[in-house]
Subunit: 376 residues, 2 copies
């Protein structure tokens, strides 16, 4: 999983956001090998002179302490998915768009570069941001949740995460994506009784027994919910089905893994209760349900003044975040959180991942305007 460690790159935080994005992209940091890049980020932030800096594993934390009435937490992960022959970065013009190509451009080193530009502006002695700032550059976002650097900070340095608003610079194409869906994964196990398929009446076919579950899924009417003016669409899907012993055996078990993506007006318990209700007939007939994965959603919090002010600063209406992101880690502490970044979410994890050059400066500018503003 880990790529070999590279020497720490030099990061010049006075360079423009495109130059800085390229410097970050050209320093490979596949999950588990973020160390050299984290070293470079830590070093550059410490040199600024206006930030308290702390290192937790390969996560770098930095913040101003100016006693401003509001504190904004900016978070971005440093790691990328495995490189797909798409490094070092290159610039190309395609479909009339100038683009920076390379692993991690959209997800999310362009966002990290914006954060570093803000640190260079507001994290120096004498700077006067309207809001206090916390920067979280974290590791291991693209891998199993237990390794997630932001999760580790939440467990070990929770105080660093408190603020009035958290902004994750995940790719959102320059539009605020509010909150996030919750996700629940359950395994429904249909029991049966094994028998030779030539004498199948001696057995009970568990795969046939899954007919009702699939019928329920096929007929499920997913809810659409408007929260703070944002539309969340739910979805209940079988993401895996498996059953079978051998080509001549009536299967004694069929397992259906179901993923429920739900709007953030339900909490985790309510989501599970809903799924149990949907499959009530099957459960009454002997099917078992096991929760294998559960992550609550996050409300968009657009009615919070700090959030509304930020949406206004972007000049674009917000939309619902469809998908689970680390904003939920802030939401779990009651901190409004949103996603906003210059990358394109549809390109994440793809070999042709790129970021539009004309998305970079507007993102930096919107955040500068917001952090300089007087409404705080």
């Amino acid at each position: 999983m880990s790529a070999p460690a590279e020497p720490a790159p030099e990061l010049d935080l006075t360079a423009d956001v495109l130059t800085l994005t390229r410097a970050l992209v050209d320093a490979p940091s596949v999950s588990g090998s973020e160390g050299p890049l984290a070293d470079a980020v830590e070093g550059a932030l410490r040199q600024l002179g206006g930030l308290d800096v702390e290192r937790v594993g390969d996560t770098v934390l930095a913040r101003t302490s100016l006693d401003r009435p509001t504190r904004i937490v900016l978070a971005g992960h440093l790691d990328t998915v495995p490189i797909a022959g798409n490094l070092p970065s290159w610039i190309d013009t395609v479909d009339g768009e100038d683009r920076l190509y390379g692993c991690g451009t959209s997800d999310m080193k362009a966002g990290d570069a914006v954060m570093l530009r803000l640190a260079a502006r507001f994290g120096v002695p004498g700077a006067q941001p309207a809001r206090d700032l916390t920067f979280v550059f974290y590791d291991n976002e693209e891998v199993e949740a237990v390794r997630n650097g932001l999760g580790r900070v939440a467990r070990e340095r929770r105080g660093w995460l408190y603020g009035d608003l958290a902004i994750l610079l995940e790719p959102t194409d320059g539009v605020v994506e509010g909150g996030c869906q919750g996700t629940l994964r359950v395994v429904l196990t249909v029991p049966g009784k094994r028998a030779h398929s030539a004498r199948s009446w001696l057995g009970v076919n568990a795969v046939h027994g899954a007919a009702g579950i699939l019928g329920t899924l096929a007929g499920y009417a997913a809810r659409e919910v408007e929260i703070d003016g944002l539309l969340y669409r739910e979805g209940l899907n079988a993401v895996r089905i498996e059953g079978g012993v051998a080509g001549n055996v009536v299967p004694d078990e069929c397992r259906v893994t179901v993923n429920f993506r739900y709007a953030p007006d339900r909490d985790e318990d309510q989501a599970e209760a809903h799924v149990r209700e949907v499959f009530a007939d099957a459960l009454a007939a002997g099917v078992t349900l096991e929760v294998t994965d559960s992550s609550g959603g996050a409300l968009p919090g657009l009615s919070e003044p700090a959030v509304a002010a930020f949406v206004a600063a972007t000049g674009q209406p917000a939309r619902a975040k469809l998908g689970w992101t680390d904003v939920a880690r802030f939401a779990a502490f009651g901190i409004p959180a949103l996603n906003y970044g210059p990358g394109d979410p549809n390109l994440a994890h793809k070999a042709d991942e790129h970021v539009r050059l004309d998305r970079l400066q507007p993102a930096e500018d919107a955040l500068i305007a917001y952090l300089s503003g007087s409404d705080a």
Copy 2:
């Protein structure tokens, strides 16, 4: 798969059928390693002096040439499933039954021992059986069909298989089991369209699309057919289902493997046509059907005089064979074939496999009576 080769055992064909069964069982011959046992069988048959003997791979062929009006083919496989800690053999009394335990006792070295006893009686100079006899001791019955020794004989030495009746000494508990079911395996593939499960409405869930197929299977009313007085029960079963890409992806394919076990009044083409008709709605909706395995059944042929005479010799009414066996290889050449052996079919392939001692001599006696009889 292959066990290490063992030295060829000594086989004394003048010993009683129990002693001979034990000698065969205690010579391990898991599929692919039948060589030493085939050597022993071949050597013992050649010593008898009244048989033409030929070796094809690890299959041993032997026959009388006495110009009798009818020829009976006796066939038994020498191989066993893998040993399950149940060798060497042992005798025990359980539930008031004296039993010989061990891998291959029922399936089907007890049957092979009966064949060897018949060879010792009728395959010596001066013997006067009422019918000519062909013995086929073959290899690799318990593994994929392409390795089956009887199949190889059918391809390379077809003349050896001709006769008026073929008797497979597979375990049938001492009752004639007539004919065999056919078996057809098809894979139904439901197409879909991949999407992130958080935006599932952009995709088409192939697992949900299998609901109709499973519903059809769950509601399928299997036919029961009487042929020559024997009752055949059919069955249509999903033996495997698989679908799923990842825990957060709407699956774009779901594959259901269906096994149709059918009565021998249908041929292979009719069986496939029936399955296509059963799933007509799904096929019309874009599901594809691929035949992966097809073996026709065998009619019981009880109206044939040679078959009726044998059933009479066993003193027990015949019943239908539920399951596919190598009798179909004879049926494909128009040769009536049946299953009749001293083993217990319910114990085949089990660690506690055994044969009742009181089943051995009656099987030998019934065959002696039949082969000595004057009705031929």
